[in-house]
Symmetry: C2
């Protein structure tokens, strides 16, 4: 069964790098959150706003994953945080090896918290361990309230779920009660934040939760 | 290099089914459009509205791809078209073999047009040939105007791009001119439709384009 063997080899290579990353972070007591969502859910806006709000309290570094362009890294740097861009050139998720390299491109000893912004994809990144401390799922209101039921994997694994663009909920059929119940059914422990990174609504609770991680 | 060989084998298996699907469609002069987008861009709403608007003019069948649930198939049937649900149970795209099977679960001889609604994912489905006549990309306004630059693959390959939820463009910084230029840079031939499947705006032009395919 060579197919199985090789699939196993690829996974083992990723797991070895993930283990290495986990040890690296643990030795430094440095939390690292792997943010996963569809394209356009507002991950970069959320991170930029978080960086601005926690300026002077937490030193945040960001590893950006994108298929192409460095648009997001430029936005993060503009918000005042160090950032390193990984371009996957077509690959649909970041790998632990890429993240391992990226750690050393950040001023690691001065950081309190690292965010990894994964490639915009609600499916593949959720199954690749990067050695992160926790996964964070971002779901935006315009995507619809059926997404946790249809794409359960990341919601089942996330330490926190951000429901972003909550300012757009009025006048839509997005049912907050239903989406919260669907997420809780998949993952009883996850913390759910209703947020608008654009208007700032709900950001204080999210930032308070981040401060508790340190 | 066993890794290369096996990757090749998987691709060859998919290509064989894709070729078979392409011949099957050609023999019947039956166009089949593979719709690709992020989760929540409004593919199902677009297809449901299209089915309603073309009722009595075109007989449309739909193959639905989802990781889990049959929510979308139920919506399509409610709109009045036959639909068959494929659940990928975790896989991030449909395969040509799955589509080959699904063709025979539809009343194929009575159809004028088939839509495949792929798994919500802007990355992986764009590289898997299903034997479709053409690929269609759907991008929704809330995802942001930077997506063609950041996820170029599907925009480079699509015969048409639907920019959906155009009713939400007012008051945002979504730049229609920029997004059109970015798409045209990737793909000179692609047809771009500005649409709101919810309000009906722009749907007539899209439906006229579909009628020309028959």
């Amino acid at each position: 069964m060579p197919k199985v063997k090789i699939r196993k080899k690829i996974l083992i290579a990723n797991e070895e790098f993930a283990l290495q990353n986990r040890t690296f972070l643990k030795d430094r007591r440095l939390p690292c959150l792997n943010c996963i969502s569809s394209p356009g859910s507002g991950k970069t806006t959320l991170l930029a706003k978080t960086i601005e709000m926690l300026k002077g309290t937490l030193n945040i570094g960001v590893i950006e994953g994108d298929i192409q362009t460095d648009i997001d890294t430029r936005r993060i740097k503009k918000a005042g945080a160090p950032a390193y861009q990984i371009n996957t050139n077509g690959a649909c998720h970041l790998s632990a090896a890429q993240v391992s390299y990226a750690f050393h491109q950040l001023p690691i000893d001065s950081l309190d918290l690292i965010f990894i912004e994964n490639v915009g994809n609600l499916v593949c990144p959720s199954t690749f361990d990067l050695g992160e401390t926790d996964k964070i799922a971002v779901l935006s209101v315009p995507e619809g309230d059926d997404k946790p039921a249809k794409y359960p994997m990341i919601f089942a694994r996330a330490a926190a779920v951000i429901i972003n663009k909550i300012d757009l909920v009025k006048g839509t059929d997005f049912n907050i009660k239903k989406v919260k119940a669907d997420i809780s059914r998949l993952n009883k422990k996850t913390k759910i934040f209703l947020v608008s990174a654009k208007t700032g609504q709900g950001m204080k609770d999210w930032c308070a939760w981040l401060k508790e991680l340190i």
